[in-house]
Structure formats: C-alpha cells, structure tokens
Symmetry: C2
Subunit: 199 residues, 2 copies
DNA sequence: TTAAAAAATGAACTATGATTCACTTCTTGG
DNA sequence: CCAAGAAGTGAATCATAGTTCATTTTTTAA
C-alpha cells in the first residue's frame, strides 16, 4: 500500500467532521430536528450525501451527537449557575434563571432539545438529558434540605417536577405568550415556593 | 336511483365507526400512537384498509379524533375533581390526585396522550389539550388567590408549571421508578407548596 | 509518474406506512 | 329478479427519508 493518512489530511477530516456537526446544529437551531435531513446537511455543508456517511455511521448517530453536544453545553451552564457560592436558595434561583434565559434566547433550539417530537434514538438521549438536569436540581434541593433552607421532601420528585415545570412554562403552549423578564422572576419565586424555601 | 340509506344501515355504519374508534383507542392504549397504523386498525376491527377510509378522511383525522375523545374524558375527570365542594386547597389536591391516579392506572395511555412523539396533527390537538388542562388549574388557582388561601402569583404561569410538573414527575424518566401511593401524597404537597398554600 | 488506497459522489435502492382505485359484493325500491 | 348506487376489498401506488455502492477523484510514497 502506498497511501497513508498524513497529519494535514487527518486534520482536514477532523475539521470536516466539526463542520458537519456545526452545520447540523445550525439546521436544528433554525428548524428543529425535523430540519436535520442528510440531504439538507450535505447541501448546507457543501458535500455529498454519501460523504456524510463517511463521518457518521447513520442518521441516528448524527442526530444523537448533535443532541449530546448541545445538551452538554446546556447542562454545564445550568450546573455552573447552580454551583455559585451562597445558600441553596440563591443557587436554585440562579439555576432557574440561567435555564430560563437560555431558553428565551434560543426558543426554537430549546424546544428542539426539550420538547420536539424526535426519532427514538434522540428521544433516548433525551431521557438521559432530563435525568442529568434532574440530578443537578436534586443536589441543590438536598443541600437546601440539609441546611434547613427547604422543607423536608422527596428531592428526586421535586427535582423532576421542577424540570417539568420549567419546560412546560417556558416552552409549552402558553410559554410563547407571556414571555418577559418579569416572568423569569415569577418563575424563580414559583420554584422557591415549590421547594418550600423562603419562609 | 334505487338505493337509499335505510335506518338499519345508518345504524350499522355509526356502529362501525364507533368500533373503529374503539379499536383505534385500544391500539393506542397498548402501544401508543405508534401502534395506530391503518393496517393494524383494519386487522383489529376486522375490515379492510380501504374501508377505514370510508369512515375517516385520512390518518390525521383518525388519530386526532382518537386523541380528542380520550382527552375530553381525562379533562372531564380532572375538571370534576377540581370542582368538588370545599376550599381551593382541597380542590387542587383532589385534581392532582385524580390526574395522578389515572396516569398510574394506564401509564402507557397517559404517556401517549401527554408525551409520546406523535404526528404533527395530533401534536396540535395536544397543544389544545394542555391549554385546557392549564385553564382548569388556572381557575382553581385564581379562586385560591381570591380566597386568600394561595399567595399572590401569576395564575397562568403557575398553572402551566403545575401541568408540566405533573407530566414530568409522573411520566418522565424517573416517574416509572418511584411510583407509589406515597408519591401521590408527596405530589399533592408539592403542588400546594407551589401555589403557596398551607401556611 | 504511477499504482494503491482512501475519499467523494449522487443516482439508485430500501423501508415504512399512508393512500388510491379498479373491482367485487351488498342493499334497495320497483 | 333487476338495475343503480353504496359499501367493502386489498394489491398497487405514492411519498419521504435513510442508506448503499459502482464509479470518479484525490492523495500518498516509491
């Protein structure tokens, strides 16, 4: 054999893969996962349909990776907000605020990650995503309970309720309507009431 | 023309339509909307694929009607629970309990109505469904606020948060795990905290 | 310059269900 | 019993993507 992958080529391949992921995410940002078709991606990234399959085994792997990428970023952001110094009460409020602000900034994308009907493979990744979110909130709730800031309660239950409450109020049918910065404040108060804080 | 639709035939047609809807719902109950295919329905109801189209213009109409039927029943049940005599606090608890118990009894069905990825037409009907639920809760919350039982708050926001909280905690990734009757009690308490009751 | 190996291409192929439609069977009133 | 109009049938067709693969182009190192 005479051909060997040289560093510049390896780099180009890595870059192309990145470009594909970026294109794919931008398609999802603009039109949800429904807009992520192999055709559209190939067109957007300026290469052929067949080549997409050189970089991703199949559509599921592609979609799942786009989802995980984006999702990790979101989780990290909220996780950092939840980990600010201070009492659990402020941490929770910061987390909620962070989640809400990000959703406000990119509603279509937030919807795609949280609520859009998607292929089963992505849906499965989404379960993990929600579990991760729930786990983050659960930690803060547990801290709050230990510190006596929050009332006694089932932290896992409250955590998943909070995740659901945030998702529905921000992305649900009504979410679009009364979207304002007041709403974020209201939402923080609501979450604090839910964990039994602020008494 | 010599043929006219006679009463017995009209009745048979109406019954057949009912039978189709029943079959369709049972398919959804067992396997979600994914299991509702024209083929499966025709087989289950013991008639031909073509005949299904004599009773429903297309799949969307069929799926939407199945959804609305079921949904109206659910909304009515929760609506009645929310309208029991007593203070808003008890009403809210009764509504939550009703919702949760019904979801426990038929988890697959509840999931299909609330969270399953579905075709866009059904998804649109689902928006209305959620709006209806939210409206129900909103009323009780407003009553509670007026009566001084609940704290001041944006009733629409809290209502949609409650709907989201219920959906996520009962049907989300964690829902399956810790499903018990204690959980329903916990959930009631959580919802009451959320509306700022019980102080 | 060249031969081997990889990468790129995109038209053809697949898979899954919805939808149609030419044909058969049934129902009705005369 | 008959003719006309409905209702019933299910194989064929359509629609939408995802996936493949024979062919072409590019890259490499001798």
């Amino acid at each position: 054999m005479v051909y060997r992958e040289t560093p510049p080529i390896a780099k180009r391949k890595a870059e192309l893969r990145e470009r594909l992921l970026k294109s794919a995410e931008s398609l999802v940002r603009m039109g949800g996962f429904k807009a992520l078709t192999i055709q559209a991606l190939a067109t957007d990234a300026e290469l052929s349909v067949g080549s997409v399959y050189r970089y991703f085994k199949n559509k599921d792997e592609l979609a799942t990776q786009v989802f995980s990428h984006a999702t990790r970023r979101e989780i990290r952001a909220v996780g950092e907000a939840l980990a600010t110094d201070g009492r659990a009460t402020e941490q929770l409020a910061a987390g909620v605020r962070c989640f809400a602000e990000r959703a406000f900034m990119a509603p279509q994308f937030a919807w795609a990650l949280i609520a859009e009907p998607v292929e089963p493979a992505v849906d499965e990744a989404r379960l993990q995503y929600r579990r991760d979110y729930t786990a983050l909130f659960q930690q803060v709730i547990e801290r709050g309970i230990s510190a006596g800031e929050f009332c006694r309660q089932s932290a896992p239950l409250t955590a998943s309720a909070l995740v659901g409450a945030l998702a529905e109020s921000l992305l649900g049918p009504l979410g679009e309507a009364e979207r304002s910065s007041d709403m974020i404040d209201e939402l923080c108060l609501l979450c604090l009431r839910t964990v039994g804080a602020g008494n």
